[in-house]
C-alpha cells in the first residue's frame, strides 16, 4: 500500500515502537517530540499517516525495524541529509 509518495506503508507490520515519529521530530526540531512528528501513528486504530509537511525524506523508513515503512527506491543505509 503506497501512502505517501515513495514511502510504502504496511500497518500490519507496525509494532508501534514510535521510532519513526521520534526520529522524524528529531530530524526537524532537534527534539524528540512525537507531537511534532510529520508521521502519525494512531495506536487505537493501528493507522499510519503523514502530515502535509512530510517531504518524503525517508528518515521514518530508515528507522523502522519492522518493515512497516520502506522506501520504494532507496536502499537501507541512505538517509536524509539533515540526519
Amino acid at each position: 500500500m503506497k501512502d505517501k509518495n515513495k514511502i510504502l506503508v504496511d500497518a500490519t507490520k507496525c509494532a508501534q515502537c514510535l521510532l519513526c515519529q521520534l526520529m522524524c521530530s528529531f530530524t526537524y526540531t532537534k527534539t524528540f517530540n512525537i507531537s511534532k512528528s510529520r508521521i502519525t501513528i494512531d495506536v487505537a486504530r493501528r493507522a499510519i499517516g503523514f502530515s502535509e509537511d512530510c517531504n518524503n525524506c525517508g528518515t521514518c523508513a530508515h528507522y523502522c525495524g519492522y518493515g512497516a515503512l520502506t522506501m520504494e527506491d532507496r536502499r537501507r543505509g541512505e538517509t536524509h541529509e539533515g540526519v
Binding site: 507490520k13 509494532a15 508501534q16 515502537c17 521520534l22 532537534k30 524528540f32 507531537s35 518493515g67
Partner: protein, 649 residues
Amino acid sequence: MKEYRCRALYVDLTTGKSHTEEIADEHVRRFLGGYGLNARLGFDLIEPKADPLSEKNPIIIGACPMTGTALPGSAKTSLLTKFPLTGAFSTGINGSRFGLLLKSSGYSNLIITGKADSPVYLKIHDENVEIRDATSIWRKDINETTDDLWKRHGSSNSVLAIGEAGENQVAISLALVDKIHTWGKGGLGAVMGSKNLKAVMVDGSKGVEVFDPKGFLRILKEIFEKIIKDPNHEKLIYWGKMGYFQARGHELGWGYQNSRSNCPHEIVDLYGANVYEKEYKKFRASCPSCPAGCKDILEIKDDSGAREVHFSSLSGRLNNWASRGNLGSYRNVLECHDFANRNGICVQSFTGLFDLSVELYQKGIITKADTDGIELKRDFETAMMLLKQTAKKEGFGAILADGYLPLIKRLGTQCEEVAIHEKGTDIQADPRLYRLNTAEFYTVVNPRGSPPTKGITESYVMKEVPFVLFRNWAKRTGMRQADIDRIFYSDDRYHISRLAKHAEDWAVLRESLGAPCMEPRINYSYDFERLRELLFCATGIEMVPEDLKAVGERGVNMEKVLNVMEGFGRKDDRFPERWFEPILFDGEEKHTLTYFGDPFTKEIAYKLLDDYYDERGWDITLGIPTLSTLKRMNLSDVAEDLESTGIFP
C-alpha cells in the same frame, strides 16, 4: 539546552490539588533518575509500617535521563510503592509510552499521594493536570476503560489503568498501560484501587531535548544499526520470544505440578511455535524506541468474531499457564490470559498460587470446606472459575487474592514446606533446573522476591558460556580490576553472590539512567563507557567512572533503607526449602547444583548470603546497611536521619 533539571509533579488525591517541584540538584547528581531517585524521593514521603492500601502509601513514578528519546530500551520507566503482596517497597519497570509522554509533558517524576473520595482518573497534559470523575468507567475492564478514555481524549494519550481486581484491592493485581504493557506485579492495581484511582492518562507536547544532539545521534545510530544489521533480525522480529520457547521447555524444563517435576514434553509442544504461527499470531508489539520488539498481540477467532489477546511476554506467560495450569489447549490459555489482563490479575502470581493450592488440596491440607465446595484440579474450568472469584475477591478466590503470606500464616508449616515463594512472590527461576548462579541467588535478596533479572550477567541459562565471557562482562560493566581479581578467584570460578552484587548494581545503574532492558540484543548494546558518554550527550553531566559506578550501588542502598525501616533484614532473605529437595526431570531426580557443579547445601546457602552482605559492606548478621556504609555511599543526609532510630548498626 539549558542545564539538566528534573521536575516532579505531585498529585494529592485527598485534597484534589497538584503542584510541581524542581528536584534538588544534589539528588539528581547522586541518583540520576528512575530507580534510585524514586527511592530518595520516597524517603521524604513515606511513613514506615503504613498499610500499603492506606492513603499513606505513595505511588512514585520516575523516568530517566534517556527516557523519551529514541535510544533503544529507553522507554522503561520505574515505579516505586509498597506492594501489598510482600509488604516491601520495591520497583516495577514498564516499557510503554507512559514514561516518554510524562517526560514530554515536562516531568521526570509523578508522585501520587492520598486517596480520592470516589473513583477518579488523572489526566496530565503539560501543565494541565486534572482529577476527573471515573464513576462511568469504574467496573469496566482495562481494555474497555482504555478504549473509553481514548475515545474521549484521543489515543495520543498513554493510559495506565486497573481492572476489577485492582478495584477490589486484590494483592495479586497489577495495572496495564495501553492495554498491553504490564506494570506493578505485587499489587499496584490494589494500591491504585485503594486510592479510588482507576487510571492515569498522560500526553505531552514539549518533547525531550538532549544536550549534545550530534553526539547522541551518533551513538544512537551505532546501536540501531547493529541491531538492524544482525543477519537474524527479521527472523527474530518474526518469532519474538517464541523463537526459544520450545527449546527451553524441552532442554531446561519448567516446573510442573508445583515444581515437583518438569513439564511433560508433549505439553510443551502443545504451545509450540507452529501453533502460534498458524493459529494465533497477529501483530508484533514493542516498547517505544525499540527496533527489536518482543511483545505479542494474538487473535482468537470464534462465532462472535475476532478478539485480540495481548502479551507483554508471551513465552513467559505460556510457560506459567502451561506448566502450572495444565489448561489443555492454546485456546484455553488465551481465554484465561485475556480474562487476567482485562481484570488486571498478575498471571505469574495467580498461576503460582493456583498450582500450590491444587497440591495443598491433593494433600488434604485444604479441603472443600476451604474452597467453598470446589474440587481443586489443574484444568481450564477450575482456573477460569478461580480467576473470576479472584477478580471479585469472592470464595476461594479471596484467599488466592491475598497471596502466599496470609495463606502460609493460616495453614502453618505444612503449607510453608510446600510453597515455593520468596517474600510472598512466586519464583520464576528454579535452580534445580537452571543451576544456582547469580540470577537465582539474586531472587533471594531481591526486595520484590522475583524476578531474577537484576542478577543476570552473561546469558548462561540456555547454553554453556566460555568462562572468559563472564570476565568480559565484568570489564564491560565497569567493575574495578581489583574487584574482578578478587571475585574471579580462579581460572574457572567466581564468587557467585559477590558477583551477583555487582550485577545488581549494574542493573540499577541502568534503571537510573534509562537503559535497563535485559533482552539480549538491547542488553548487549550498552557497556559502561557507552553509558557514561550517553549520560553526557543526553544531559551535559560529566561523571568520572567511579562516580557513575556508585549511582547503581547508591540506588540499591537507598531502596534497602526503606525496607529496613519496614523491618526487613536477613531473616527475610530466605532460600526456599524446596530448593534443597530434588525435582524429577524426565523421571530422574535433579538436585540443586551451583553453577560450578557443587551440591547446594544449607551451609553453602548461608555462606552465599554472608558473602553478598560483606560485598555490600552491610552488617552480616542483620543483613542491612550500616550507617558507615550509607555515609560512604554519599547518603549522609539519610544516615543522619536514621541515626536516632537505633535500627542501623
